[in-house]
Point group: C2
Chain length 251, copies 2
Amino acid sequence: MAKHPVHPTATQVLDLLVETLARHSTISMHDERELRGLHPRVSKVARGADIVRQGDRPNVSIMVVSGMLARYHTAPNGDHQYLSLHIAGDLPDLQSLFLGVMDHSVCALNEAQVATFPHSQILALVKRAPSASLALWRHSLIDAAIFRQAITSKGGGAVARVAHLFCEQFTRARAVGTVSGWSCPFPLSQTQIGRVVGLSLPTIHRATQSLRKEHCAEVQSGTLRILNWRRLCKQAHFDPIYLHADLAERD
Amino acid sequence: MAKHPVHPTATQVLDLLVETLARHSTISMHDERELRGLHPRVSKVARGADIVRQGDRPNVSIMVVSGMLARYHTAPNGDHQYLSLHIAGDLPDLQSLFLGVMDHSVCALNEAQVATFPHSQILALVKRAPSASLALWRHSLIDAAIFRQAITSKGGGAVARVAHLFCEQFTRARAVGTVSGWSCPFPLSQTQIGRVVGLSLPTIHRATQSLRKEHCAEVQSGTLRILNWRRLCKQAHFDPIYLHADLAERD
DNA sequence: CGGCACGTTGAAGTGACTCAATTCGCGTGG
DNA sequence: CCACGCGAATTGAGTCACTTCAACGTGCCG
């Protein structure tokens, strides 16, 4: 599985979409047929580039095909506070479908490929395959659950916050199949980790160092490697319930 | 407008629901007719009582009719971290419709009245009036936007966080019409304010005192009174864009 | 009157921040 | 091929805001 498929076809993109939704929702034959009727446009995004900006009124929604994106707020002093990280299959700005104006921005953390779906097509899909739209709704609810967890995580110390970030990322990477052994992609510098968990660079450094010394986890050249999952989870007070990774229990 | 209607009829409850959704979405005649076909059950909840608990698998969703509710996480040490506050018209656990198991709890901050809607009825509604379900979806997206804002707010100092809470609550209260002059209901003790913004009691005390001394806002016997809206917003770095209170711009 | 919840205030401790200096890895141009 | 420069990681010193702990006031309800 190449990190950057040379030129993903529409079919591959739609595969990814269906696969993502099927991970937590039941997708009927009819739903799948309608989903495959969408016409995504795939484009490449440079590392650090913005895809959507606060205040925009997009008329498309995007899906991550490869690479990693981040949503962020811009603080009054100009700093960036990252709100969430997004990997293949994620739909980071699905909300723009219903909330006219963006209340945050989306940028690429490394070179990434994104698929864009016109809102008009999605809205048409909603009419023709309502149960497929419920899958999208559920997807956005899980998204919200992750934000709630982020609020609480700020209660713990620096090590706990970083450890929690590692746990969440590894768990989500495992779900989409981008892990190999105990490693998964993690293209963030320490400065960027600081923007995610809301701590300063020196603090992040000490926290990551502590986690490496205690053989919990380490980051090296864009990869996160788990050294001791059990211990890492304990440091993080990680309880994956909020990721709602279990299969749907209703239809 | 009594704080606790003696015994709200189903009609009044459905009025509130339609009114709430119409605030940000276009509700067609057909949608409204279908919404009014729901059969809510109204019940009274004692101050401090839990309505749903983490780990539950509810088969109903609730709407606040009067009073104030809070969603909260329970920290490893037993502390409660409030995630959001909810007033009349809010649907705090709409997510339970699609996410089987609750990842947080909901409790009443004062004596409150809540309406319960069976999931089965809502799902039936979704089938019969898809566009009404889009209004519910949008509602849950605004909910998520508030969580995102909460993450960023933790960046500022104690005074800024408390001020931001005051701004948000007053703005939302104004939207549902529970303000009178520059006052709105706010039944939280300083300890509870601490649970919302993630600070200790003494810090909250000093922050509220500072806001009163600077004639920004004050809390008195369950009421929040704005003394100087402009100055309060400045202290809070409050930008209401994330509340998406503007009317819907698409159908 | 006694208990209790909440508000008020002070003193001491601690964790993270800012600021700053140094090192390392790596690509680039002389 | 080496010097340079840049981004990132590393480390230390001093400061500040919030925490914890503790004590006391105050109003209300039994």
